[in-house]
């Protein structure tokens, strides 16, 4: 890959959109996941009785649906990312490739 081509890619609006959208989504989802998990860990560390409180059936504790919720939310968060990345981001990526191919032909 030549320096000229690298500059070409860097200045392409599709490339800018792709990298900024992808990294903002990735970091947002990572922060949400960490926030959920560390909130859970901090409750266990500082006030475990909170998770031991009973639900209306008098036996199941709050901690059980909370635990299941964390498991399901990690699955849903990965789902959101994969869905976005495999449609929107891949399309931006393909547009970028086409643009570069076109301009390389022009230049040649």
């Amino acid at each position: 890959m030549t320096q000229e081509m690298i500059n070409e890619i860097k200045n392409n609006p599709n490339y800018k959109a792709l990298t900024s959208k992808r990294s903002s989504l990735a970091w947002t989802l990572s922060i949400i996941m960490c926030a959920i998990y560390y909130a859970f860990i901090l409750v266990i560390a500082f006030d475990p009785t909170l998770l031991g409180a009973k639900l209306s059936d008098g036996i199941t504790s709050v901690g059980i649906p909370v635990g299941i919720f964390i498991i399901i939310s990690s699955f849903i968060l990965t789902g959101i990312y994969v869905n976005k990345a495999n449609t929107e981001f891949d399309e931006l990526n393909n547009n970028l490739k086409k643009d570069i191919e076109k301009s390389m032909k022009k230049g040649a």
């Binding site: 970091w27 990572s30 901090l42 031991g52 504790s61 399901i72 990690s74 990965t78 994969v82």
Partner: protein, 452 residues
Amino acid sequence: MKKSAILFTLLTLGAMASGAIEGDVEKQPLNVSAIVMFLIFVGATLIITYWASKRTKTAKDFYTAGGGITGLQNGTAIAGDYMSAASFLGISGLVFMKGYDGLIYSIGFLVGWPIILFLVAERLRNLGKYTFADVASFRLQQTPIRTLAAIGSIITVILYLIAQMVGAGKLIQLLFGLDYEYAVVLVGLLMIAYVVFGGMLATTWVQIIKAVLLLSGASFMALAVMAHYDFSFTKLFQTAVDIHSKGDAIMAPGGLVSDPISAISLGIALMLGTAGLPHILMRFFTVNDAKEARKSVFYATGFIGYFYILTFIIGFGAIVMLLSNPEYLDKTGMIIGGENMAAIHLSKAVGGNFFLGFISAVAFATILAVVSGLTLAGASAISHDLYASVWKKGQVDEAQEMKISKMATIGLGIIAIILGIAFEKQNIAFMVGLAFAIAASANFPILFLSMF
């Protein structure tokens, strides 16, 4: 203070990961249905290995199954790497002993996955070829960083491998009534055969088959438990609280994660440790493109999450169905064989001797699949990173590199057998803790530096 908390965390972590292998194990009477089912599994996997050997011609085939694994297949295999015998027997045993605390561990093991997907998987897939050291040497100076990354991989692999071998030996003693040394040699030889002849393709399929068997078996057990209590969690939990010696305490977080520092360090160790395990990272190179790599993490997270929910139900099922039945208890009222046998005993309680054989065979298959993946990762660090890239500076033909990796596989297999026998009486929980510590503190930072 902080250091000791982290060490403590890693040790408990090791205790978890090592599972059914603490202390002395009593040899059990020969279990015929388990042996028959295990032989069927071994036969099937050897056929696959033969088939895979016909398709493994180039280095790319050997290291990455030619990159032709689909997202769903790879996701199942990743889940398989993760659902080790330790997490099946160990976590269900932990739930059986302590109730809710078992779920806390499961969650810690799971939440690393989304982070790997968001921040690591794609870059790894785009930058690397065969090993994670490829990615590291992309930006950093090739020779020193690749040497460091490869040695980090090899040490993690060997420590993990020894722990798995010792675990396998003890588990087989327990389940099949076979001698420890025979068990270790058997596991070592099968693992060498899978990897040398079938490479990544055979290793992946062994892992897929095992994952499917384990998920079906665990689903059946959880369903049988729930059916017994009219699919009512209230009834299940009520009975468990009535029977268990800890009473209502099993429904809430207990003493496992007591002070804030160990709680937080546990969270960090679980997350970063996962992201630094070479045999898991290597799986991202077996798929065709970034799209399939992303899908594989999605499927893997789903399977692993589902599996952990099952182990939670299985743990509670063991409380209600085993503690009330004198057949599974010794004179002191403790469960026979220790808490890590909870899932195994429960399989007999819900499905009789036949199902007990099935679950025992699956537990053994699980160890075989995990050690094969580990050995392949270690062998590629030796042949691809140290031999081909560092020593020969990339000036090496493929056939020679393949030959080295097969020799490395045999070497690692022999080391694993010898050390597996030598370490029979050692505290292997400590070694798994060490492996995780090295993965989290040596491999992960290299990866991080080379990607951000």
